[in-house]
Symmetry: C2
Subunit: 350 residues, 2 copies
Amino acid sequence: MKRWQDKLRKIDPYIPGEQSDAPNLIKLNANENPYPPSPRVQKVLSEACADQLRFYPDTNGRNLRSALARRFGLKPEQVFLGNGSDDVLALAFQAFFASNQPILFPDITYSFYPVWCDLLRIPFERVALRDDFTLDPRAFDRPNGGVIFPNPNAPTSLSAECSVIEDILQHNQDCIVIIDEAYVDFSTFSCVSLLEKYENLVIVQTMSKSRSLAGLRIGYALCSPELAAVLESVKNSYNSYPMDTIALACGTASVEDEDYFRETCSKIIATREHSAQALQALGFTVLPSQTNFLFAKHKSQRAEAIFNALKSENIFVRYFRIPEIDNYLRITVGTDDEMARLLRTLQHIL
Amino acid sequence: MKRWQDKLRKIDPYIPGEQSDAPNLIKLNANENPYPPSPRVQKVLSEACADQLRFYPDTNGRNLRSALARRFGLKPEQVFLGNGSDDVLALAFQAFFASNQPILFPDITYSFYPVWCDLLRIPFERVALRDDFTLDPRAFDRPNGGVIFPNPNAPTSLSAECSVIEDILQHNQDCIVIIDEAYVDFSTFSCVSLLEKYENLVIVQTMSKSRSLAGLRIGYALCSPELAAVLESVKNSYNSYPMDTIALACGTASVEDEDYFRETCSKIIATREHSAQALQALGFTVLPSQTNFLFAKHKSQRAEAIFNALKSENIFVRYFRIPEIDNYLRITVGTDDEMARLLRTLQHIL
């Protein structure tokens, strides 16, 4: 062993969904949006002047923060921007989970949470979901250094009732509670309205899913001005310019096009609903999704076998080799045509 | 005090150079490039298709890594990409400075180093520069958890001799040595050729200065495949997609236009040299810069007074309220016209 090797960090990283360049591929494994971003984003790109890139970006992202503040009825000082919601969450872990007590999150959830805890040396405990994958608010009634859960949850696709979330908030007022709303735009309600009532609440959202901007890396947190200032100081201790000039401009253009946003979200929800019914007709149990993906298991065929069979037909879905959910598939909702091809292929396989 | 406040992180962030929207401003305070990026970058932007943005970026940045590898005569596995060199450096601190021994860096240097140490809880010791701001290799001869220094150094603008750097490397083979080459393209030599000889060497560069792409946030590390893999695993534990699709494409286009790159760097170096002479004629001592900025003090006027006088004339330069250097100005090299206006204004002020 070389003597400098003991100074290196050893860590198990997060593993993102598989990528492939195969032609004729149907990519239903990364919860990407099947529709292009708002036409206003194309306009920003086509008209962008390269000369502006010689300057550092606006570190305060004023235009995008104002646009988001207007959309949510908040003040710009309540909006914090980051390089994708993963960046926002990683900074929020550093900003808000700085005690020595373990933070709490569901045992079946976004697999990046324990990775950030390991990297940032934050103690954590996993809180068991009920057998039907719903959130038990009583499971969070224990001393902790913070709480985080996605709503809707991933990969289960389930949303908790608003009353369950308020119950968790009411019983966790001594710590910061982060609700990761990556999929909320495909759901029936957001917790943004709870910000008025709970000053220890932080909501994180992303433009990667509902706004078709995964390729630009735009995420944000909504919270009290006080908590946003803490996030800002941690950000400025890590990377003062996490968002680039083009991403800021495209994100702003997207937020300002509410009509297009609603239209594409509605299309995905409609496709989701009839795809879920079609999957049930093929013998799948499909959880009642509030997201842009379906979480489903088949009555007789193993998920891994279906996953591999689909892959050999150039249809990529997501399969997790995790005990409690290793008989489920996570299937991103694509266009109607893509879902029709998926369903035909499944019919053939099963 | 609210009970959740003791779980928040308290930290002193890095403070970037002042920004202003004033018209007719000459901005010589952030070491930005006065020339636009390669025309190929404009072409990438103008032809970019927004539809591609609905997909996550290539997490491996294959095209950009290959382009950089070709340019430096390295293998793509020796190139690590990040969201600006600040992101690369922050990840490198986490990846390589994981022992309990203090890391070493010069006492006058990039002010982000101690900020990352505080944020990431890495012990550090500052190593004194000589009175003339040159690097003393013997100062690094002590037990340490790693070494980092910029070459050329900022804000002093000085480059060490190659022999001094090799001396430091030879005496520090039990740790990772990072050389931060943010300004190297305005200098006479890079340490990239030393990578063959020192497997514990990591070189970090940026496209923000010499390639006029500060607005896109592109940085990279060059090192052994083994160390690049460690950086990659830490990156994938923090944010799997730090670079967006547009930045990757524009960065690749820039690297492939070597002629334009050399031409603009040469212009800046020529402007630097005659501006330095003109400043000396006005009574300034100017350090022999190997960067795109000049570090200068006046024989009779205080730096802070000159800084404020220039500001009131809409010329922004950088002034540091740091004891050893609080009588110096850091002046970014602009176009010949901008430098002529700076010099006229200085003549008027002094």
